[in-house]
């Protein structure tokens, strides 16, 4: 899957573009490159619908002169002059940011577990076998169940950064992912569940998410009638149900620039209690095998563990080099430094501030799923929501719909609810009466990074409106 010397060629390309920047007399420059290769299998209607593969990549160049920056991206080193020229002309039109310089070289500690050689050796035939095994497993767990959509993918990614300030780094990472939509249609009733799993290392042939998908397609059948509720209800959100909402709201609210610009519901609350006193939020790009881990951030600064909220108190925020310099120069904050939190969406964009692996933790004892049901008394279990991306990251308000929801009464699940509206405010809901589960399952994000969240029981401030 990964051609021999892929990373070397990428780094050579960076050096060629960097040399050209030097020849053109650019004082500070940064060249990034990425190239990915992969195989994928699509599943539709209970069978393999397509097998694919390929590769893509390119370069991005950021130039900096007197606090003014410009950026351009390209697919071919031969067009470097044109890209550099574009970036320079943009820099000249950009406002100058006092104190903005590209980061200098600092040694970075390698993060283990980001590359699995066994993934490199996987071919399409392996993935086809895996797809067959998954389709068979679903059928064996429930003869009515069908994988109506989803697929499997493996990839190997080479990435490199080279800067005028002495940063020269590159590496290989791998990933293996499975996602399935399992549906059960019987007696005119269709229920379904989407579950996925991905990792930097090779996954088991049939990951546990497959069983969960079948289980939730079964659990949500034969809905019962639940009368409309006038008061707020406790809800136990599974990791899969909670993380989309959490990922829309929290990674944005915790950015340094959002906080100092009064664009976050946590603006003006530094050092104040913003969450339940047992809760902490930590962003950590140094986690071994972390889905969004790396030894350096996307502008070459060594990665670190940033405790953003400690025991309920807002203590820190996420900064990239430019964002911190800009907010200081515009007088919004006296002091700020990069927290190693620069992210990019590939080589096609300059870095911005964002999270990596974002953890929600509690200093209290974690709870099993069953014990949280008991604690809840009367309420709901929600495994997925529709419309999480419509949550408002500025205010924290959300109003979403769930068709994967169970009714709990007297500490017991009594049946499924066909559909319900779920609304509230994420910041308020996390301020008290929060119980965290004992099984952290990393999930993707609607904004940036990876959400490391367990099942979460929210007992205050959520309104559920069953159909």
């Amino acid at each position: 899957m990964l051609p021999d010397g892929a990373l070397d060629r990428l780094q050579e390309g960076c050096r060629t573009i960097g040399s050209r920047c030097n020849q053109l007399g650019i004082s500070q420059w940064e060249v990034v490159a990425s190239q990915s290769y992969g195989h994928q299998i699509d599943i539709e209607g209970g069978k393999i619908s397509l097998a694919g593969g390929g590769g893509e990549g390119g370069y991005g160049v950021r130039v900096l002169e007197d606090g003014k920056f410009g950026f351009a991206y390209l697919v071919d080193v031969k067009s470097a002059d044109e890209a550099i020229s574009s970036a320079i002309s943009i820099a000249r039109m950009s406002p100058s940011i006092d104190g903005f310089v590209l980061p200098s070289e600092q040694s970075a500690k390698k993060v283990a577990g980001l590359f699995d050689k066994s993934i490199i050796d996987l071919d399409s035939e392996y993935l086809l076998n895996q797809a067959d095994a998954i389709i068979s497993e679903v059928s064996s767990l429930d003869t009515r169940a069908v994988v109506t959509g989803g697929g499997i993918g493996v990839s190997a990614n080479a990435a490199s950064i080279l800067t005028s300030e002495g940063i020269e780094s590159g590496g290989l990472t791998t990933s293996h992912g499975v996602g399935v939509q399992v549906s059960i249609e019987e007696n005119g009733q269709l229920t379904s569940s989407w579950q996925s799993k991905s990792a930097k290392s090779k996954l088991p042939n049939v990951p546990q998410c497959i069983e969960r998908a079948v289980e939730w397609a079964q659990l949500t059948r034969d809905p019962i009638k639940v009368d409309p509720l006038e008061d707020d209800s406790p809800i136990l959100m599974t990791s899969e149900g909670f993380s989309p909402l959490f990922s829309v709201v929290v990674p944005t609210a915790i950015k340094g620039e959002k906080l100092v610009r009064n664009e976050s519901f946590w603006s003006g609350k530094m050092s104040e209690n913003v969450l339940s006193s047992d809760l902490s939020i930590i962003d950590d790009a140094t986690v071994e095998s972390g889905k969004s881990s790396g030894s350096r951030d996307d502008e070459g600064v060594p990665s670190r563990r940033n405790v953003l909220i400690k025991d309920g108190k807002l203590t820190s925020s996420l900064w990239s080099t430019r964002d911190s310099a800009q907010q200081i120069s515009e007088g919004r904050i006296e002091s700020a430094h990069t927290t190693g939190s620069a992210i990019r969406s590939g080589h096609q964009s300059p870095p911005v501030s964002g999270c990596s692996n974002l953890f929600l933790t509690s200093s209290k004892k974690s709870h099993s799923f069953e014990s949280m049901i008991e604690v809840m008394g009367d309420g709901f279990v929600i495994n997925s929501v529709m419309g999480a991306h419509t949550a408002n990251p500025t205010s924290g308000d959300f109003s979403v719909t769930s068709s994967s929801i169970l009714r709990v009464e007297n500490g017991e699940i009594i049946g499924a609810v066909k559909q319900a509206g779920v609304s509230g405010n994420m910041a308020n809901a996390l301020q008290g009466g929060v119980f965290l589960g004992d099984d952290v399952r990393p999930q993707g994000s609607y904004s940036s990074g990876t959400m490391y969240v367990p099942n979460v029981l929210l007992t205050k401030g959520i309104r559920v409106n069953p159909v």
Binding site: R9, L10, E44, I48, S49, L50, A51, G52, G54, G55, E56, G57, G58, G70, F71, A72, Y73, L74, V75, D76, K78, S79, E82, S86, S89, I90, M93, S94, P95, E125, D132, T148, E185, L190, S192, R261, N262, E263, S267, Q348, S349, P350, M386, G387, T390, N392, T394, S395, D397, S399, V400, T401, S403, Q419, G421, V422, S423, R463, N465, V467
Partner: protein
């Protein structure tokens, strides 16, 4: 690794090509002589420019060039696909892609229906939708001028804490060659300007976003009153500061054009996509010819509406795009399809194949989706009959579970309707429902139907779309 040459020499209509037609055709012939029933190469070269401005200052400007190509090979009733930015490798990847298809086919059981493609006209031509003002000739200063104008009108109030403005324009050049002899080249442009206004009053912080754009060059943005766009966004953001939390429950809903567009996109458009129907993941399976909506409801999807953000001249299987009538007076008349699903259902191909870019294979997708107008004169005419309900405006997006037929969409702002009058401003209104119920509950549409703000649709791949319609009333919707 060999990366492609940059697409710097492509000018709409001048005949320049990235693909070596003779060489690609030879490799397509070879792969079909080795067992493929069909093969194609589709290349997309994109030149784009993104700009972000915050509070009147340039945040970032990103000029970019991308190129990608996808090989699709159909063999023994199964697909193999290869995508790459390395255009020089296309010929050598043809045989491995055939083997992929054959590997998939070998795993199919006898009861699995082999994939076949509906027959289509074979065309060799070039179609270029040439804009009046080519975006590639636009200076950054021109882009900034429009963005500053929007920012300026959006900022004028002490409670406005931030105004961000975005710009994106792109020139899309596509080349398509198939083993059937299809040889088509097409190009067009899209332009977009957007804004996000954030307002704050004490601890209360809200935001409102606005967008304008479509198919076309700089002339499209020049036709927009960006000053008014910014002003309206400011007024809405300030109003949201005083808005109350919405009531919840079932009640009449009136939706503006933006929200009507998102509603019809989510509630009907996605379940009408024939690839989802064929996969058993649509509530509209088996409903062709059935009455599924009120007599008032007629819905089209039309990529030929120039200036719509989902407009394109040719679909990504090389077919001329056409208007599709999905519902006529409440009766489901047509699925959106591509060649595979047209053959599967025995229906006429209607050119519904779209891919995100040159690195993705085509799926069945919407383009510009609209409800036709009705008989009500205006908003007042619709509100008059409502004793207690909600008038909701502007979209924050939506989502659908096509299999169950349940959907959700969220409004940017809303008002309570009491005794035929629009009264209290509301915030964070979302609407959910079931496709097969709510289409029957449409009981009022204003006369004029047109596209609203441009949008993006995600289905594993993201494509630009246009949605819209008239102002619409639903007799009973679940508001939350």
């Amino acid at each position: 690794m060999v990366l492609a040459k940059s697409p710097d020499s492509i000018v709409s209509g001048n005949g320049n090509r990235y693909l070596d037609v003779d060489k690609i055709n030879k490799s397509l012939d070879l792969v079909t002589s080795n067992g493929a029933t069909y093969a194609e190469v589709r290349l997309v070269a994109l030149t784009d420019y993104s700009v972000a401005m915050r509070d009147g200052k340039l945040e970032r400007a990103i000029p970019g060039q991308e190129i990608g190509a996808t090989i699709r090979v159909l063999a023994d009733g199964a697909w193999g696909v290869h995508s790459t930015t390395d255009i020089s490798s296309l010929q050598e990847q043809m045989s491995p892609t055939l083997k992929l298809a054959q590997s998939v086919a070998a795993r199919r059981s006898a009861k699995d229906r082999p994939i076949k493609l509906a027959e289509v006209p074979i065309i060799e031509d070039s179609i270029h939708w040439v804009p009046k003002k080519d975006v590639r000739n636009t200076e950054l200063s021109q882009r900034l001028e429009h963005m500053k104008l929007m920012t300026s009108s959006a900022s004028e109030h002490e409670n406005i804490v931030s105004v961000t403005c975005g710009w994106h324009d792109e020139n899309i050049h596509t080349e398509f060659l198939s083993s059937e002899g299809m040889n088509r080249t097409w190009s067009f442009q899209r332009s977009l300007i957007n804004g996000m206004v954030t307002a704050r009053d004490g601890g209360n912080v809200v935001s409102y976003r606005t967008r304008f754009g479509g198919e076309g060059g700089l002339e499209l943005i020049e036709s927009c009153d960006v000053d008014a766009l910014g002003e309206n966004a400011r007024i809405s953001a300030l109003r949201l500061l005083k808005a109350q939390r919405a009531p919840s429950g079932k009640m009449p809903l009136i939706a503006d054009r933006d929200l009507t567009g998102v509603y019809i996109h989510e509630a009907l458009g996605h379940p009408c996509e024939a690839d989802l129907v064929a996969a058993g993941d649509s509530c509209l399976d088996g409903k062709l010819g059935h009455k599924i909506g009120s007599d008032l409801v007629t819905v089209i999807d039309d990529p030929t509406i120039r200036t719509g953000y989902g407009a394109h001249p040719i679909d990504d299987e090389g077919l001329d795009t056409v208007e599709k009538c999905l519902i006529k007076n409440g009766v489901l008349t047509e699925y959106l399809n591509h060649r595979e699903t047209a053959e599967h259902f025995g229906i006429k191909p209607n050119a519904g194949a779209r891919a995100q870019d040159g690195l993705h294979h085509p799926l069945v997708r919407m383009s510009n989706t609209l409800i036709h107008g009705g008989t009500h004169n205006d908003l007042d005419d619709l509100v008059d009959d409502v004793e207690y309900g909600v008038y909701a405006c502007g979209s924050r997006g939506g989502q659908v579970d096509t299999g169950r037929g349940s959907f959700q969409f969220a409004a940017q702002e809303a008002w309570l309707i009491e005794n035929g009058e629009i009264t209290t401003p509301l915030k964070d209104v979302s609407v959910s429902g079931l496709t097969l119920q709510i289409l029957k509950d449409v009981d009022g549409l204003t006369k004029e139907s047109r596209l609203a703000a441009p949008g993006f649709c995600g289905k594993g791949q993201t494509v630009p779309v246009g949605d819209g319609g008239p102002i619409m009333r639903i007799s009973e919707a679940l508001v939350g």
